[in-house]
């Protein structure tokens, strides 16, 4: 292959390039497959941390769509006029759940004055890093609002992403963890102990937008497909909420 010839570039651009938060791997991959079955070139999707993807967009990487794990990085690009504002909208929503290893007997109802610290025993609470990962930020916000944060603030096991936290619970290395409902659903070795009330944290949303420099019409077409009833149904099968 001769990657640098203009012809090759033009050819490759027939399939849209989508940059997406790593936690969307299964669901968005399935959506791309479905889209391809409709006779379209299968979108090329790069799954990575939202921060890395946003910086790549800023550096001029040639891509068509961006799906962020939180609004902050989408805002970052919007401020720099790197996305088309009219194409931006919240594609998916999610819920925050408390999980325990599948065999764990722990019972706890989520609400004000919940005894989270006691339920942890001598163990740690697995979460995505509240200082950097969206899932962790939501968890901190929810626990703070429910008054449970002081009990656990110094007893966190902070994962690099929400799946790392999930793995700690699945392996039984942490007695409890806070992850997205979609993650809990995909991991048979964990059990959902309870779901955090939506009012306890800012809405969890995955914004989608078309990038300013996208010239590939397939990008817009795929974006529209993602908003279609068919795609929404597909995302709901993975546990996401849609609007």
């Amino acid at each position: 292959p001769a990657p640098f010839t203009p012809a090759a570039r033009a050819d490759a651009s027939r399939a849209p390039v989508v940059l997406a938060a790593a936690s969307l791997q299964e669901s968005l991959g399935a959506a791309a497959d479905a889209w391809a079955r409709h006779g379209h070139p299968r979108p090329v999707i790069s799954f990575a941390a939202s921060s890395a993807l946003a910086r790549q967009v800023e550096a001029g990487a040639p891509a068509d769509l961006f799906v962020s794990a939180d609004e902050a990085w989408m805002d970052y690009l919007a401020q720099r006029r790197l996305v088309r504002p009219e194409t931006r909208l919240a594609l998916l929503t999610n819920r925050l759940v408390l999980v325990a290893p599948a065999g764990s007997p722990v019972r706890l109802s989520i609400g004000p004055r919940m005894a989270l610290g006691a339920a942890l025993g001598s163990g740690r609470l697995a979460v995505a890093d509240p200082d950097s990962v969206p899932a962790g930020r939501y968890a901190r916000e929810a626990l703070t609002r429910l008054g449970a944060w002081p009990q656990v603030a110094r007893r966190l096991a902070r994962g690099e992403n929400v799946r790392a936290a999930l793995a700690l619970v699945a392996r039984g290395e942490a007695p409890l963890g806070i992850v997205y409902a979609t993650d809990a659903r995909a991991e048979p070795r964990v059990r959902v102990v309870g779901t955090f009330p939506p009012a306890s944290h800012a809405p969890i949303s995955y914004p989608l937008a078309r990038l300013a420099r996208s010239a590939n019409p397939e990008g817009e077409a795929f974006r529209r497909y993602l908003l279609s009833p068919e795609a929404r149904a597909l995302f709901r099968r993975f546990g996401f909420g849609t609007r």
């Binding site: 990657p3 640098f4 390039v17 940059l19 790593a22 936690s23 791997q25 299964e26 090329v44 999707i45 790069s46 799954f47 990575a48 941390a49 890395a52 993807l53 910086r55 790549q56 800023e58 550096a59 001029g60 990487a61 040639p62 891509a63 992403n161 799946r163 999930l166 699945a170 993650d183 995909a186 991991e187 048979p188 070795r189």
Partner: protein, 229 residues
């Protein structure tokens, strides 16, 4: 055994690592030579600069590469304007990231071997009619071969395992920048992806084993015997 997609990943990884290590070798050698032999002020700073990709977390290295080689970056902008080339989202960028990460390992290994070469042998070659370059090529270079081979193996292994700088710099694009570690990472993100992880990691290990055996055979063939009489 492997799916077509997985074969593609393996082929890409090999290409990226081979190009990374092959292109870095001359630079690594030159740096090793300067660090081992040249007298110049501030050598320690050059030494430190070579070590940077080791000290700084890989994602930071990737981010710095992105700043430099992005379309608006000093190097990337120039490449795009003058050559019409971009390494962003391309396998060439992945090779660049791997090369940067492998560089310190290669330099150190080569430098260690260069420092062990007895300069009296080069002097002998000079009296026999060899100019400085020829003495270098026929005496110093082959005597430093163990270090060069060690550098190649270390660099190749490091390239095969490079993840953070690559995904940060050139993203995770199947068929273009998704090397073995990125595919492994992706599998690791999926509940139940452990078997894929194990299979892909096994392939990485196999590839590096082949490189290792090849280098050992080369070293043996060249007769080692680096001792001075």
């Amino acid at each position: 055994m492997l799916t077509a997609g997985e074969w593609q990943i393996v082929a890409l990884s090999l290409k990226v690592s081979a190009v990374a290590v092959g292109l870095t070798l001359p630079l690594a050698f030159a740096l090793a030579w300067v660090l081992a032999r040249a007298r110049l002020p501030g050598k320690v700073l050059l030494d430190a600069a070579v070590h940077l990709p080791l000290v700084v977390p890989p994602v930071v290295t990737g981010w710095l590469l992105l700043l430099a080689f992005g379309a608006n970056g000093p190097i990337g902008g120039w490449l795009e304007r003058v050559l019409g080339v971009t390494v962003l989202f391309r396998w060439t960028g992945a090779a660049l990231a791997s090369a940067v990460m492998a560089l310190p390992l290669m330099v150190r290994a080569i430098r260690l071997s260069l420092e062990a070469v007895d300069p009296r042998l080069e002097a002998a070659a000079r009296t026999l009619g060899a100019g400085p370059w020829r003495a270098f090529a026929t005496i110093t270079l082959p005597l430093a071969l163990p270090g060069v081979l060690a550098g190649l193996v270390l660099g190749f292994a490091r390239s095969l395992g490079e993840f953070g700088a690559t995904i940060t710099f050139v993203s995770n694009i199947p068929g273009e920048t998704q090397t073995l570690p990125l595919a492994i990472y992706a599998a690791l993100q999926m509940p139940g992806g452990e078997s894929t992880v194990a299979r892909l990691a096994g392939i990485s290990v196999l590839l590096s084993l082949v490189a290792l055996v090849a280098s050992e055979m080369l070293a043996r063939r060249s007769g080692k015997g680096a001792h001075v009489l």
